[in-house]
């Protein structure tokens, strides 16, 4: 049974079609990536799942409930946390404050503080700089903060929009390793990426999106995948 299921989703902005008839699913505990070039509708897909834009047709299901028309706050409460593209941390709040506001949906103070402590355990760099303005962190540290902030709501599923954007390859590797580790601890992950090779290796399964959101490929990810071949395929799809 799927945890998250997109059923024939279409998204249009005025007359422009961003996504057309997209169907994907993520099972419980799975690490799935959705890869594709610029402008194929990846970010629109993220926004639709997060409840920021409404699909024009199709439905989105999470934990067997139809969340297509739900507000973003309620979707978050149901357990989908989003790490938005470009990180969007609060640069002029301190690292600690960024984490504290991340726990907005929960009123349980002591649980939130416990959660905060566990984030600082998991991300030592955030503990080290906890009272520093978040804007002063390096790109990789900011990405860790964005992920930690999303985790503050104790989600069942993490939805990441291009976490590798603007990061050095070595840092990207660290971020993906972190995602893998989180996944092993039970968080389901849907990773939206342009950085195909690294995303595919990290994930259990992957989809390739083409212009208009049509799925071209669904395949198994993991270490044993022939990355060169995928990249060749991927490039072919991108240049249609």
């Amino acid at each position: 049974m799927s945890l998250l299921k997109l059923d024939q989703i279409s998204i249009t902005y005025g007359r422009a079609v961003a996504v057309k008839g997209l169907s994907i699913h993520v099972d419980e505990g799975e690490f799935v990536s959705l890869i594709g070039h610029n402008g194929v509708g990846k970010s629109s897909t993220v926004k639709a799942i997060a409840g920021v834009v409404r699909p024009t047709s199709g439905s989105i299901w999470f934990k067997d409930r139809d969340i297509t028309q739900m507000d973003s706050g309620d979707i978050l409460r149901m357990g989908i946390a989003v790490v938005p593209e470009g990180r969007h941390i609060f640069t002029r709040l301190t690292v600690r404050e960024n984490l504290v506001v991340g726990a907005t949906i929960s009123r349980d103070r002591s649980a939130n503080l416990k959660n905060l402590d566990s984030m600082i355990d998991r991300f030592p760099v955030l503990g080290k700089y906890s009272s520093r303005m978040a804007g002063l962190l390096s790109g990789g540290e900011q990405q860790q903060l964005a992920i930690a902030r999303a985790l503050m709501s104790s989600p069942t599923m993490l939805l990441l929009d291009e976490p590798s954007l603007g990061l050095a390859p070595l840092i990207v590797q660290q971020v993906f390793d972190l995602l893998k580790e989180l996944n092993e601890q039970g968080v389901s992950i849907l990773l939206i990426e342009q950085n195909a090779a690294q995303a595919i290796i990290a994930s259990d399964r992957y989809y390739v999106m083409r212009t208009g959101g049509v799925i071209s490929t669904e395949a198994r990810g993991g270490d044993q995948v022939d990355v060169a071949k995928i990249e060749a395929d991927y490039l072919n799809f991108g240049t249609v």
């Binding site: 997060a50 920021v52 973003s72 706050g73 978050l76 409460r77 946390a81 989003v82 790490v83 938005p84 969007h88 941390i89 609060f90 640069t91 002029r92 709040l93 600690r96 404050e97 504290v100 506001v101 991340g102 907005t104 949906i105 503080l113 905060l116 700089y129 009272s131 520093r132 002063l136 962190l137 390096s138 540290e141 902030r149 999303a150 503050m152 709501s153």
Partner: protein, 351 residues
């Protein structure tokens, strides 16, 4: 636990560096016993209450409001109506409409009048705020300005209750320098408390990045409404104090001129910080008193500069320069506490 301790210490570091110098300055001014100096200081501090009030909403949400003076006006009139001595009321308000006739029959002590006026203004703020907080940018500016005009028109036209264009008289003149100081201390304490509170941090988060705050489940209208209401109530405190300080006022007292002054003070000081609100009032008030003195009586060896409107022109010029050269204001949106923090931890260079 840790979080709560750090919030309290942040509150102390935020508020005390502003409150202590203000107390010291006030005591020094009181000691001089110079009437005109005491007057100027009292006015400045009452204005500061309103500016701090405006900062609570505009500074933390990043949404400009031109409406805070409207709430100051509502509170000033409410408190006046409640506190004018019973003997004078029938002659001042002969046409008081039936449903308000109870107002004529009693009179409250001034502090109680101020408290009731502030609470009443808070209720008005919630009602007006529900639609207003959904706006931002230019539309928020226009809508809040429109509200100011609405209140002005109501106050000028509702003669039976507000005495219309005639001046409100008979308002107990009880507010002094010490009342003004108490008002400022309270305003700063409340503003600082809000800034370190969970609601305050969420509102700042919406200012910093609205998309990210939505992604973590922050309701922007809800957080803005909390800040808006608190902001209007603090501005109302300033308005009520002002009423009891000058004791005769009319709708024009709380008009565009005062609005311009208050917004200019906040922008010049730095909208993003509480320190900016305080610094802005001090800088603008000292400068405008300086030029006003030049205009009317000359200063020591400097003769009278007979140039009506000099003060306003200089202020406008300063506002323009600040907007061009340093759009985030004199303080650049930082607090006194930040300056200390930066100096204390030299190892905190960006990595």
């Amino acid at each position: 636990m840790n979080d709560r301790v750090s919030a309290w210490s942040r509150w102390v570091f935020l508020a005390l560096p502003l409150i202590i110098p203000l107390i010291v300055i006030t005591v020094l001014i009181a000691v001089t016993n110079d009437i005109s100096l005491v007057q100027r200081a009292s006015t400045a501090m009452i204005l500061m209450v309103m500016v701090v009030g405006l900062h609570i909403f505009s500074g933390n949400s990043g949404v400009i409001s031109f409406g805070s003076v409207a709430f100051a006006m509502i509170a000033a009139y409410t408190s006046a109506l409640l506190t004018i001595p019973v003997e004078q009321k029938p002659s001042l308000f002969p046409d008081m409409p039936g449903f308000l006739s109870w107002i004529v029959e009693f009179s409250l002590p001034v502090p109680a009048g101020i408290v009731v006026a502030v609470l009443f203004t808070g209720v008005v703020a919630v009602i007006v705020g529900v639609p207003l907080v959904r706006l931002s940018g230019l539309s928020a500016g226009i809508a809040t300005l429109a509200f100011l005009v609405v209140v002005q028109v109501v106050v000028t036209k509702w003669k039976a209750v507000t005495r219309g264009e005639s001046t409100m008289v008979g308002v107990p003149k009880e507010a002094t320098l010490w009342w003004a100081l108490a008002g400022v201390v309270l305003a700063i304490a409340v503003a600082a408390l809000f800034q370190v509170s969970r609601n305050g941090r969420r509102l700042i988060a919406t200012r910093e990045d609205d998309k990210a705050s939505m992604s973590i489940g922050i309701s922007i209208p809800k957080e803005r409404l909390v800040g808006w209401t608190l902001s209007c109530m603090v501005a109302a405190t300033g308005g009520a104090l002002y009423g009891h300080y000058i004791s005769t006022f009319s709708a024009t007292t709380f008009g565009f001129a005062l609005t311009f002054f208050i917004v200019a003070m906040l922008v010049i000081g730095g909208m993003g910080s509480l320190t900016g609100a305080v610094v802005g009032v001090l800088v603008v008030q000292v400068l405008s008193e300086f030029f006003r003195t030049l205009e009317t009586q000359g200063l020591g060896p400097i003769p009278i500069i007979d140039f009506p409107g000099l003060t306003e022109m200089v202020l406008a010029l300063i506002l323009l320069i600040v907007l061009i050269v340093r759009p985030s204001g004199i303080t650049g949106g930082t607090e006194v506490a930040d300056w200390f923090a930066r100096r204390k931890s030299p190892e905190s260079s960006a990595s």
